[in-house]
């Protein structure tokens, strides 16, 4: 019996960490098409995030509250600094601005229904206010964007608050995009644009430049609406300390800071993944800016970008935010990326959980589309109900954590309740690395 020759050990095929399969596919795609990739959603890469923080909970020296019975407030008042009619929300979770155009009519209606059911606000978007949206939203924030699509004083007067959009976390420094597939006759008419063109929204406001002008612009909006409405300023997170300080100085009642995980309806992938800073990195800076001006809690801070759970809500509040806003999670609650639609996602070359072609108008869930057939698939009543459920869960979860930390209002959560799992998160959130008293970059703490 002859022995079989010894096989030479071989190494398995090895993928490069630099030229990993996804990167190679990107190069191949670019080489084949000659155009950059546009998609929806926010940054998909792993980033330091709320998952890297933990609550300490009550112990010997802290007294918890009884889980269900003891009161733990969640209401929040926004805009009391200058507005004669500030708004009061029952939960600190608001719905972020998403345009009619990017979203279908039924999706906008569902957002209004869901938010109103739990006593929170919705927000218009780049494309103006629709009657459905106004009609179904108890509290509606009207965005004032660089494009000024559909802007008119009647809608301004109908709004409950006004949000001056300077930037978005997914694309600080970039304007909006709405591709031709989604510029239906109605969308075109609302925006004064030709039907079917690939539309790009301005990235700068047309009639003001810089914070001194913004102060005068805010003054004009207040004059037009007789100083009734809260005025928010929304910024994409890049230099949150200075931007928050300048927005507050310009007279904002509320500052909205949107981190780089924040969703978008359509932006270049290279922009989404490479411009801006993570949500976790901007909260303490924004809070610090308000504290330095003596305005923390007087000017409210709303944080957005990757909020998914009540734990995320509680962590954002503990770091000093007054409220949060959600976009992507709200769309998922309505029915986006539903596994029941897997066959249709496959036909689009994707899979449930990864679908992000929100720019392209073929959304099988009927949410990010203007196609009447697709849009009619979304039942606004049922979808609104799902959103209301989800918002209730976020609120209950945040309350659960707050009670465990002994707080009778979610706003009583504080950085002292938190520790970080990683050095990066500890540095960004300015809370100690778990098991140590070390806050990297913070003098007077030690490893």
């Amino acid at each position: 019996m002859s022995e079989s020759p010894p096989t030479t050990p071989r190494t398995p095929p090895r993928f490069s960490a630099t030229f990993d399969p996804y990167t190679i596919a990107q190069i191949q795609r670019a080489a084949a098409t000659g155009i950059y990739d546009i998609r929806g959603g926010g940054a998909k890469r792993a980033l330091p995030h709320f998952d890297d923080l933990l609550f300490l909970g009550a112990s010997m020296s802290r007294y918890p509250l009884e889980g269900y019975r003891e009161k733990c407030g969640t209401e929040v008042v926004l805009g009391a600094r200058f507005a004669s009619k500030p708004i009061t929300l029952r939960t600190p979770v608001t719905i972020a601005g998403m345009s009619f155009g990017a979203l279908s009519g039924p999706a906008k209606e569902a957002l209004g229904r869901g938010a109103s059911a739990v006593g929170t606000s919705t927000t218009t978007g780049d494309g103006g206010m629709t009657v459905e949206e106004r009609g179904h939203s108890k509290t509606l924030v009207y965005q004032y964007l660089p494009s000024r699509y559909g802007m008119n004083p009647d809608d301004l007067r109908k709004a409950d608050a006004i949000e001056v959009v300077v930037g978005q976390g997914a694309k600080p420094g970039g304007g909006g995009m709405l591709l031709g597939q989604k510029i239906s006759a109605r969308v075109a008419a609302m925006r004064d644009l030709p039907e079917g063109i690939d539309q790009r929204s301005a990235c700068r406001h047309p009639d003001w430049t810089g914070p001194d002008d913004l102060e005068i612009k805010i003054g004009e909006l207040r004059e037009i609406t007789d100083w009734e409405k809260p005025i928010y300023v929304k910024i994409g997170a890049s230099r949150p300390y200075y931007d928050t300080a300048l927005a507050a100085k310009a007279g904002a009642d509320v500052v909205v800071v949107d981190g780089m995980q924040g969703g978008t309806a359509a932006t270049q992938e290279v922009f989404i993944e490479n411009v801006g800073i993570p949500t976790l990195a901007c909260i303490r800076q924004a809070v610090q800016a308000l504290q330095d001006l003596g305005l923390h809690r007087k000017v409210q801070l709303i944080v957005s970008g990757g909020i998914r759970t009540g734990a995320d809500v509680a962590k954002a509040l503990a770091l000093g935010a007054d409220a949060v806003a959600i976009g992507t999670a709200a769309l998922i609650a309505l029915g986006d990326n539903n596994p029941a639609l897997e066959d249709e996602y496959r036909k689009l070359g994707t899979t449930a959980g990864a679908y992000d072609d929100w720019q392209d108008g073929r959304d099988p869930a009927g949410i990010t589309t203007q196609d009447p057939e697709l849009a009619s698939r979304l039942d606004p009543v049922k979808a609104g109900h799902r959103l209301a459920n989800y918002l209730s869960v976020l609120t209950l979860e945040a309350q659960t954590i707050a009670r465990a930390c002994g707080k009778s209002h979610v706003h009583n959560l504080e950085p002292e309740d938190l520790v970080a799992l990683t050095i990066e998160a500890a540095a960004m959130a300015r809370v100690p690395l778990a098991g140590t008293d070390w806050i990297p970059g913070h003098p007077g703490t030690s490893f």
């Binding site: 004083p153 644009l193 030709p194 009639d207 007789d226």
Partner: protein
């Protein structure tokens, strides 16, 4: 004939009084004295009244105007008649940047010159400037008509959509996707009507027309990767 002296009253009081007017008010002739360059004078009016402002105004005068006829005897700061919906705003002097920005209707007449970004993002407004306009005017202009009797600065009509730009003097340069177009009979009639309303007696044929080359209308991209 209410007279509001802004040396005595605050702009806020003036605007509030104007906003409280019912559309069928008898108080149809308002005079505003001593504006002294203050901002946001006579903004957000929603009534067919006449307002005479005696002097110079700051930013955003007549902003978002609906139906009112507002006349300003002096010069105006940034964003004159921004986002105007309807009505007529007439300025005797010169206007700063972004005059008529994003305007959606109505007529803005500037007797003097207008600075940079005149008619930026305009959405249906008609603007007649008897003097010259500065650079980057009609940037991203969507619809409406801009008529300039003098010269236009650099990058006129950059990224323009469907607005019409009529210029009688020199154009320093055109912005991306803006090109000269033939002045057809339809455009000539629109122009003649605007010249007439602005009280200008010059032949429509002495203007050149500029508009969109429509080469930026599509990104030429397969969007579903």
């Amino acid at each position: 004939m209410p007279v509001v002296d802004l040396a005595v009253s605050r702009v806020r009081e003036l605007n509030k009084a104007l906003h409280q007017l019912p559309r069928n008010t008898n108080e149809t002739h308002w005079t505003v004295q001593n504006p002294a360059g203050q901002h946001s004078i006579a903004v957000g009016i929603d009534a067919p009244i006449e307002v005479m402002i005696e002097g110079h105004v700051g930013y955003y005068c007549a902003g978002m105007n609906k139906d009112a006829q507002i006349t300003i005897s002096g010069n105006a700061g940034v964003g004159l008649a921004e986002n105007m919906m309807s009505g007529v705003v007439r300025l005797a002097g010169d206007a700063s940047q972004a005059a008529g920005a994003t305007g959606r209707g109505g007529l803005l007449i500037i007797e003097g010159n207008a600075s940079a970004r005149c008619g930026i993002s305009m959405k249906g407004i008609d603007i007649v400037v008897k003097g010259s306009i500065g650079p980057m005017s009609a940037f991203m202009a969507q619809t409406g008509n801009l008529v300039v009797l003098g010269d236009a600065g650099e990058a006129l009509g950059d990224s323009i959509y469907e607005a019409r730009l009529f210029v009688r003097g020199e154009v320093k340069s055109l912005g991306a996707d803006c090109e000269e177009k033939p002045l057809g009979s339809e455009e000539r009639a629109i122009l003649a009507g605007l010249l007439d309303r602005a009280g200008v007696d010059v032949p429509a044929d002495s203007f050149r027309l500029f508009g969109s080359a429509r080469r930026l209308y599509h990104f030429h991209v397969d969007n579903a990767y």
